[in-house]
Symmetry: C2
């Protein structure tokens, strides 16, 4: 089936004289997860991973993805004529240089300009220039083949109420307008869906795992336009927006409307999210800046922080019940990873304000835990027994917040000393970064290694960043702050600020043998002010016992043991009032002093 689609695509390439087509995994808003309408890469390759770029040439079809997805690719694409190219850095545009090296001078590449940001197109142009390779827009190419392509999402849009958002749309728009004034500009154009959801306090279910609304937004000094189909809004919502001088114009009309803006107007926008089709259409002058919404959104207000803490209670209760279920059930039968994931979801569903999972849960038994973005399908899930190691990374969307937590548990048998050293080093790394005090202005890349150095000392490491920002009933991976080894990413270069929510999640993975990861969400807080500056730190808000069976206590310092005991006292104190007496007893045992 995939091969037939590729055959049709090649016929069309011949018809239009394209030597190659680049099909990325994103939508016109550079979203991480996309609506079905935009799953073009999946349609032509069969590959469902969240990151990957397909390149179709006359005699080869090639897919670039990173190490998290190699196994999944092999599984999903084995029957198709698609070759895997292994990316050394996730999301790096390594296919561009390869493609330009492969193509002849004056070749023509087809791309849907909607799916490429201005910054990405600048890079492709730069690389392709020396061979005079032409880049042509392919806006309707896919529709000629994909007859039953799903329509754009049209779900009703919900207003995210003040009791969860903590700040009115009017107040947020005022901040954007101040920014426009300061920059002596006329408009601010937003195209990132989570920025728009935050700015207008709107939510829907256009995108898997993330409560976003497909839209663009143009904020002016007096009036604002939200490009989104008006029939998705209630009459009340439209009236409320109207009072705020917010007009709703159909999504499909966005480019045509933006084209009408005067040539002498100045529009602030973010070069990394604005797509090239919009950029190309607009006559006005763009001022490229890092999005003001990104930083404002990353600093949570009191309501959002209190919502997040409330979600941790709910998640903590669900996880406690889940681990009790697992402990009781495993001696009686083998359970598939898939079923375990579903069971965990069922405990979260019982919680107040639950909306859905915040990403596809990762339940990885033994060696499967070493596949970093592993998702067990019902068919190929491994059977979990009453022994060895299990990694569970999961999260939820609640109306008052978003969660993400990883625990790794030992299910029975005798662990090796090597495994205990790795697990204990991961734990020590988590504690070191969470306990670090650092000056304001410190960026993620400067302190990421505090979660690694205990592993390094034993010749161990992990091939991913140490943590990411997280939204408030928003994206589970939220820019800009985080911890990473990569200076090219925003989380490497961005200062941590008080009242941000960020994950800390060191790990250790041995191929075919084990995967270990311990992940909490932490809140950034001001800790000390001296003549040397303002110093910040973190405080954990995730509430869930950390398995102690794999800890080699001889490797822990007194202060690490004190941290462990104090964290577990907090977990027990906060969760126990919501548990029945059997559950309380179980949690008490999990939270005993080490």
């Amino acid at each position: 089936m995939i091969n037939k689609r590729l055959e049709k695509l090649r016929q069309i390439m011949t018809k239009y004289n394209f030597d190659a087509i680049i099909i990325p995994s994103t939508d016109p808003h550079q979203s991480e997860y996309v609506a079905k309408h935009w799953k073009v890469r999946e349609y032509f390759s069969g590959f469902t991973g969240s990151a990957g770029v397909l390149v179709v040439m006359k005699d080869e079809t090639a897919l670039w993805t990173d190490s998290r997805y190699f196994l999944q690719f092999e599984d999903e694409c084995k029957d198709y004529d698609v070759n895997l190219h292994k990316q050394s850095i996730p999301h790096a545009p390594e296919h561009v240089q390869w493609l330009c090296d492969t193509l002849a001078e004056n070749a023509v590449i087809g791309l849907d300009f909607l799916q490429f940001s201005k910054a990405q197109m600048d890079y492709i142009k730069e690389v392709s220039a020396s061979k005079n390779i032409q880049l042509k827009n392919t806006p309707n190419l896919v529709n000629e083949i994909w007859a039953d392509r799903p329509a754009l999402p049209a779900f009703p849009v919900d207003i995210h109420p003040l009791e969860y958002s903590g700040e009115t749309t009017a107040s947020k728009i005022k901040k954007v307008q101040n920014k426009i004034s300061t920059a002596k500009a006329d408009y601010y154009l937003f195209s990132s869906l989570d920025e728009i959801a935050w700015l207008f306090n709107i939510r829907s279910k256009d995108v898997d795992f993330t409560p976003l609304v497909t839209a663009y937004a143009l904020v002016g000094l007096e009036n604002t336009v939200l490009f989104c189909d008006s029939n998705r809004f209630s009459a009340t919502a439209i009236e409320t927006f109207s009072k705020l001088n917010i007009e709703i114009i159909d999504y499909e009309l966005a480019i045509a409307e933006l084209q009408k803006l005067d040539i002498d107007k100045k529009i602030i926008t973010d070069i990394s999210s604005l797509n090239y089709a919009v950029y190309n259409a607009v006559q006005s002058k763009f001022l490229f800046q890092n999005s003001i919404a990104k930083e404002l959104k990353s600093i949570k207000n009191e309501t959002e922080i209190s919502g997040a803490k409330n979600c941790m209670l709910k998640d903590g209760v669900a996880l406690t019940k889940f681990f009790i279920w697992l402990e009781n059930e495993l001696p009686t039968r083998e359970i598939s990873e898939y079923e375990i994931g579903k069971k965990l979801e069922s405990f979260r569903k019982q919680q107040d304000l639950y909306v859905g999972e915040s990403f596809a849960a990762i339940v990885g038994y033994k060696g499967n835990g070493a596949i970093i973005h592993y998702t067990a399908s019902e068919e190929r899930a491994a059977l979990v027994k009453n022994e060895n190691i299990l990694l569970v990374d999961s999260g939820a969307q609640y109306k008052d917040g978003t969660t993400d937590i990883t625990r790794t548990v030992w299910l029975g048998g005798t662990p090796t000393a090597e495994l205990k050293t790795a697990y204990t080093s991961v734990l020590k790394g988590y504690i070191a970064l969470e306990q670090l005090q650092f000056p304001k202005g410190t960026v993620g890349m400067q302190i990421d290694a505090f979660a690694r150095f205990h592993l390094w000392q034993h010749g161990l490491n992990y091939p991913h960043g140490t943590g990411h920002g997280i939204g408030s009933f928003g994206m589970v991976h939220e820019s800009p702050q985080g911890f990473t080894t990569n200076p090219a990413t925003s989380s490497g270069r961005t200062s941590h600020l008080p009242n941000q929510l960020t994950t800390i999640e060191p790990g250790c993975y041995k191929k075919g043998v084990y995967g270990i990861r311990i992940e909490n969400i932490v809140l950034s807080i001001a800790k000390q002010e001296t003549e040397f500056g303002n110093f910040l730190g973190f405080t954990p808000i995730t509430l869930c016992a950390i398995d102690r069976q794999l800890i080699d206590k001889s490797l822990l310092t007194d202060s690490e043991i004190a941290w462990f005991n104090s964290y577990h006292k907090m977990v027990y104190d906060k969760l126990s009032p919501m548990l029945n007496s059997d559950e309380k007893k179980w949690l008490q045992r999990m939270c005993e002093e080490l």
Copy 2:
């Protein structure tokens, strides 16, 4: 006098219709220290600091420098009509935006293109474009005013023998030629003086503190041209070079000769060191790459490492004798910081193969130690008494290596607990970074904070990078590796590699009260290879006791105490054979177990 020079400069600006002149502190090779001929900024401002840019406009003269030099500026420029603009980041081109904001549309800026790199000019062009500001070359402007301008250096050039360099010029040039072949280019153009000194194994004394030779070099696949006055070389040297197909052509002819290269030739060069006058003159196509010489040079060969270790013995002996002298002399009289610096130099002068200081020694008593690039002139040096704290940062050029070391000593009285906490935290930071094991590929910015986090914990910090590469009878600050908080610098982005020499020098500075810094040179070494990668670390090669009077032992862990004792055992074992019995006794006391 300075004011008169500025007046003359303004007359000439009027004559040529310049609205502003930018005068940087560098030479045509982007050197850190420059020959007298290039001290143009000093000539027109009176400011002698090694970093700073002068901007002369019709009605204002402004100098940009960073916090290391504020005090020195006030002292040196108080009588002149020069306004200080405080740079927030050292070397950042903050004056460019300011100047372009200040000037009117279509204004004209004069610059000597020789003193600006291609990369710097690109930046100035970008900022000045929106106001259509013109940039005009001012090659001979200074000569019209500076009648007695010193000539370009013409000292004899020494061949740096194989017993110190460890690699022949032929072998080094072969590596460059391989790089040219791989890149399908025709030439490699070098304009950085320390790269040329390394490549041709040549040394002279053109530049203060650094044994460099003023030259350009063009390496081709068959032939090489060294642009340097041939009368600076011995007949033997010229003949030896000739056998290697190296032709020597006068320095002043470089641009004219490079202009003759065919337009279809490709020249590899480094955008950050090539000056704009050369770039502008050459017709051929440039391929901008990070200099191959930088990385090759940073990895020391066995001879260079053994030379460096030998220098540490000599420096260690000189410093031991110096500190004994200081301890004996201080009870008898007050000694000026200036005299202390000279005395230290005198002990180094007694050492084999000594050439000179590698930078102006920093001898900072009490609050003077908090001025990071403090150099006490004979006139304004403070008098050091038998009490309180003294910081001594110094280094030497020996024919077999370059040194750089800082020690901070307590001279008498009772230190405060605050001071002991700061000193002990600096020491702990030094130990943490020196003892760190980290994977290959780790860059300076990822691990710099290991030297800071003990300070951070007490609300302390220091406003400079943690260390820099160091040359082999070369530059005391040598690119590319190091430790820094700044992602924009090469030392932030460059991986550490085995056999590099780097300083580790955390500090803590309280304005007007104290300056603390502890600095050793460390050698990068391979430590462990596992399935998770290759792991590197450092080993200290500097040999000099670290003062223990300011250590609060209760803050040290057992492993830190073990490090301290083991380091001092090494210092005693290596230095004592070269000391007399009194000196041995003194050192034994300094190296006792803690």
